[in-house]
């Protein structure tokens, strides 16, 4: 297993290299000059501009520029944001905790809800409750997250006033207190739910079908014949079999959250990486765009890796593949 993991990790290197090449050339191809942010915009003197181009190395051959960017990048220097005038690493560091908090809450909500609803539906299939849950699932899978987000803001934040409509925390509360965390959780609930809605629906569905399928298997009949109560059979025997594949989805979740966060953060004005990314694209803040793109690509790779490893643990056959 270790060897497999190690090989997969090494396999990520060329992939990241390719992504970095693409990201770099995309940034080069972006309209406008990727350097214009670093040059005093009020100084239109061509000599000054030329001097700055030279100074910033934009006159070097492309591969030299790429090499410089990659080596800087690997040593943790992601460049300086042209919009915020601060190191991109710090900028990302500022927003990343928010996004991680959002993602973790979303995962938590997803799994708790999926388990609760999936268990119920799986144990009592074709009842009213099951049908209601099925209805929710269809909605969850079909309603695009941005539509759901807009509706959620409209109803829960404006009409019902249950949740705040923007931000990640109430500024007046001191950091570190319980209230502070309660405020953060209060702010993150709505976006996290919308972000996790799709996964919640698909996992519920998956768990339900798996439970129903497993409950027809021989080992269940054996247990029943031995006089084990049905409740215990579900909790001990069936669930254990059904949970395992569900856990392996975790890795794919990471990849999915990456993309989802952009839209969700935008709708809820939640100051995380996604919002920073949109902001940077709009403002031509290339160093930030490049760094975030690289980071998100790496996260997708890592997510897939985790998915594969979890899968390998659960199903040893695929290790050879």
């Amino acid at each position: 297993m270790l060897k497999y993991t190690l090989r997969r990790v090494l396999g990520m290197i060329p992939m990241l290299f390719l992504v970095s090449v693409v990201v770099f050339f995309l940034a080069k191809a972006m309209p406008g000059d990727s350097l214009s942010g670093e040059i005093d915009p009020t100084n239109t003197n061509p000599e000054y501009q030329e001097e700055m181009r030279e100074k910033l190395g934009y006159n070097d051959p492309v591969y030299m520029q790429y090499y410089r960017w990659v080596t800087d990048f690997m040593s943790g220097d992601f460049g300086k944001s042209t919009r915020y005038k601060m190191p991109v690493a710090d900028l990302i560091g500022e927003k990343l905790p928010n996004t991680i908090f959002l993602a973790l809450t979303s995962l938590l909500i997803t799994y708790v809800l999926a388990f609760a609803m999936g268990m119920y539906s799986g144990r009592k299939p074709y009842t009213l409750g099951d049908n209601l849950i099925a209805g929710f699932n269809y909605a969850g899978i079909a309603i695009p997250s941005f539509v759901a987000g807009v509706f959620a803001v409209y109803f829960f934040a404006f009409k019902l006033n249950w949740f705040p409509f923007a931000g990640s925390v109430d500024i007046e509360i001191d950091k570190g207190t319980i209230d502070y965390w309660i405020s953060r959780i209060h702010h993150v609930m709505l976006p996290a739910f919308v972000l996790g809605m799709f996964s919640t629906a698909s996992y519920t569905q998956f768990l339900r079908n798996d439970l129903i399928e497993n409950s027809r298997k021989d080992f269940v009949r054996t247990a029943l014949a031995k006089g084990t109560p049905m409740g215990k059979i579900y909790n001990v025997h069936i669930l254990r079999n059904s949970i395992i594949p569900l856990v392996t989805f975790l890795g794919f979740d990471i990849a999915a959250l990456v993309g989802g966060a952009i839209i969700t953060e935008k709708i809820f004005t939640y100051p995380g990486i996604g919002l920073l990314f949109l902001d940077s694209v709009n403002n031509r803040d290339y160093p930030t765009v490049m760094a975030i793109t690289m980071m998100l690509s790496a996260m997708v790779l890592i997510g897939n890796l985790i998915a594969d490893i979890l899968y390998g643990i659960v199903d040893p056959r695929i290790r050879l593949g």
Binding site: G32, T42, P46, Y84, S168, T269, L278, N282
Partner: protein, 579 residues
């Protein structure tokens, strides 16, 4: 105390960054939130609501765009940041409701508009407890003139004698700055100018606070980003980047007692503005015209307006500019016909358009200077192009633009198909498309076939600036500052003269207005020269002046002591909350 003393250059950048902020904040935004100034208006201020200011309380101030977090006058880039700095820092000079400079932290004297003596107030303290001295100002000027300085303000220091040498590294200090004592300094400019005073950078920086920080690292330092200090009525207590700030009362404020205990500044999405005001989540916010009608319907909020200092226009590309030679090198033929331009101006129903897209929070502007500005000419002194489609048609007929092939649209005088191409910048805001479409429709109504092209905003200004051939007529906005000199936008040798307007007579008038010999200190005379220039421009129609917009604030009923005019709102120290 009045807000701000920004200059032409800033103002323009601000207008531009306001577009950017618009897409960042994801909303409908225009130059309307450019902070370049506001003006006196008949609208009621909140003072009349009650008598005595009350002490204490927390006021929540909303922002509908995300600040970049550069909380220092020397480094900030966008209007939103300036709106925040305004609460906790101030400058040496302020402007009155006629946009004339008045002393704030310092007084000045000059004989010749070249040599100035500034005397600072004594006993004014920074938030960190240090006393303000002239050295803090020198420090600010030298920071901006430093070669490593990465902000956009050098133009405001450049005119001080010796500043270019300092920037080039040839001198250790700026020779034009002579410190007499802690409170007195003599400043010498490279030449006498009428606008030397309004042009110079007037914000000190706490030298003590920035001790040991290289100029190159300043913009990223916590002294700028999270723990800024200032001289204003409030102190920055806490910053949650991109989201909110907490400001507390400055007990040692030099200019009177501060009423409020605390101001919370919160960033909210502009879709939430109305709801947030209604629920009392925020007490005050600068409104976009689109939200104002809904806010007016609220019982607990009042809408306060003041004329703004920015205007919208439709420009004609008349030539091509060579940035190396600094001159207009080529004349573009398509819109050279003066009658065509006049007809296109007469075709637009500006009142209707402003009502539809700005909900009445603005009015038609007839000259290249907002009406609230003191150099603005009276409408009777300039050529006004009222909405008059019949006149437009007549002018077009005279110019030879007639429909020769009966397709319902006019052909050009040679009988070739004539299509007006109108470009507008695009952000996420869907109304941009409809408002530009509306303008094109006005032209179609007088028989000119028109098409609209929406261009991504960053690309748009790039294309306009570089005279891209696909830009023919274009939508734009300029914010003007307190400095009346419009040279940077209008002279034939300026990059930002986007229409490539080339009239030596107009340029001569602009030069005359600034000349110490001819005009001197006579503001009256100066205004007259500018009026003459404005008449010349309106006769030539290089652009159709569309609208000047109001500055709009939504202010809770419980907020007192607030007023607003063309130069901005009053000192936040005077604001209070009714219990």
């Amino acid at each position: 105390m009045k807000r701000k003393s920004m200059l032409w250059l800033f103002a323009m950048i601000l207008v531009l960054s306001a577009f950017l902020a618009a897409c960042g904040g994801g909303g409908s935004d225009d130059a309307s939130d450019s902070d370049s100034g506001d003006s006196k208006d008949g609208e009621k201020a909140t003072e009349e609501q009650s008598g005595e200011p009350q002490q204490g309380g927390t006021l929540t101030y909303g922002l509908d765009a995300t600040p970049e977090g550069l909380y220092n006058w020397a480094f900030y880039g966008i209007a939103t940041d300036a709106e925040i700095i305004e609460f906790f820092d101030e400058g040496l000079i302020e402007y009155d409701e006629n946009l004339q400079p008045i002393p704030n932290l310092a007084e000045w004297e000059t004989e010749d508009n070249q040599h100035f003596t500034f005397k600072f107030k004594e006993g004014v303290k920074w938030h960190n407890g240090e006393e303000l001295t002239v050295n803090d100002w020198v420090f600010a000027l030298e920071t901006i003139a430093h070669p490593d300085y990465d902000g956009p303000r050098y133009a405001n220091v450049e005119t001080i004698e010796g500043a270019p040498a300092f920037r080039a590294g040839e001198a250790d200090s700026i020779s034009g700055l002579k410190v007499v004592d802690d409170y007195t300094i003599e400043v010498t400019f490279d030449e006498p100018r009428l606008n030397n005073l309004t042009n110079i950078w007037s914000y000190p920086m706490s030298q003590k606070e920035f001790e040991g920080i290289e100029v190159a690292d300043m913009s990223g330092s916590e002294q700028v980003r999270t723990k800024p200090v200032g001289l204003g009525p409030f102190k920055v207590e806490n910053v949650v980047p991109g989201e909110s700030l907490e400001l507390v009362k400055n007990e040692d404020y030099w200019n009177g007692e501060v009423n409020l205990d605390k101001i919370i500044i919160r960033v909210i999405d502009n879709t939430a503005t109305v709801g947030a005001l209604q629920n009392g989540d925020i007490d005050m916010i600068s409104l976009q015209p689109v939200s104002a009608p809904d806010v007016e319907k609220l019982d607990n909020v009042e809408v306060v307006t003041a004329p703004g200092l920015s205007y919208y226009y439709v420009g004609f590309k008349l030539g091509k500019f060579d940035n190396d030679k600094k001159e207009i090198v080529e004349e573009l033929p398509k819109y050279q016909d003066l009658n065509l331009r006049k007809a296109m101006a007469h075709a637009i129903n500006r009142e209707e358009w402003i009502d539809a897209f700005f909900f009445g929070y603005g009015k038609p502007v007839n000259k290249p200077v907002p009406t609230a500005h003191w150099i603005a000419a009276d409408d009777s002194e300039v050529n006004v192009y009222e909405y008059d489609p019949e006149k437009a048609k007549q002018l077009l007929d005279e110019a030879g633009f007639v429909d020769t092939n009966d397709d319902g649209f006019r052909e050009d005088p040679n009988g070739d198909e004539f299509v007006v191409k109108f470009s507008h910048y695009a952000t996420g805001n869907p109304t941009f498309e409809s408002r530009s479409q509306a303008i094109a429709q006005y032209w179609e109504e007088v028989g000119l076939k028109s098409e609209v092209e929406m261009v991504e905003v960053n690309l748009y200004y790039d294309m306009v600036e570089k005279d891209d051939p696909s830009i023919e007529t274009f939508f734009g906005g300029w914010g003007t500052g307190t400095d009346p000199d419009p040279s940077a936008l209008w002279k034939a040798d300026q990059l930002w003269n986007y229409p490539r307007y080339n009239n030596p007579d107009a340029d001569a008038l602009l030069e005359q207005a600034l000349s110490v010999e001819e005009v001197g200190d006579d503001q009256e005379k100066r205004a007259q020269v500018y009026a003459e220039w404005q008449k010349t421009v309106t006769e030539d129609v290089p652009m159709i002046f569309i609208a000047e917009l109001d500055e709009i604030m939504g202010v809770g009923e419980n907020v007192g002591g607030f007023s607003m005019d063309v130069s901005g709102y009053n000192n936040p120290a005077e604001w209070y909350l009714e219990k």
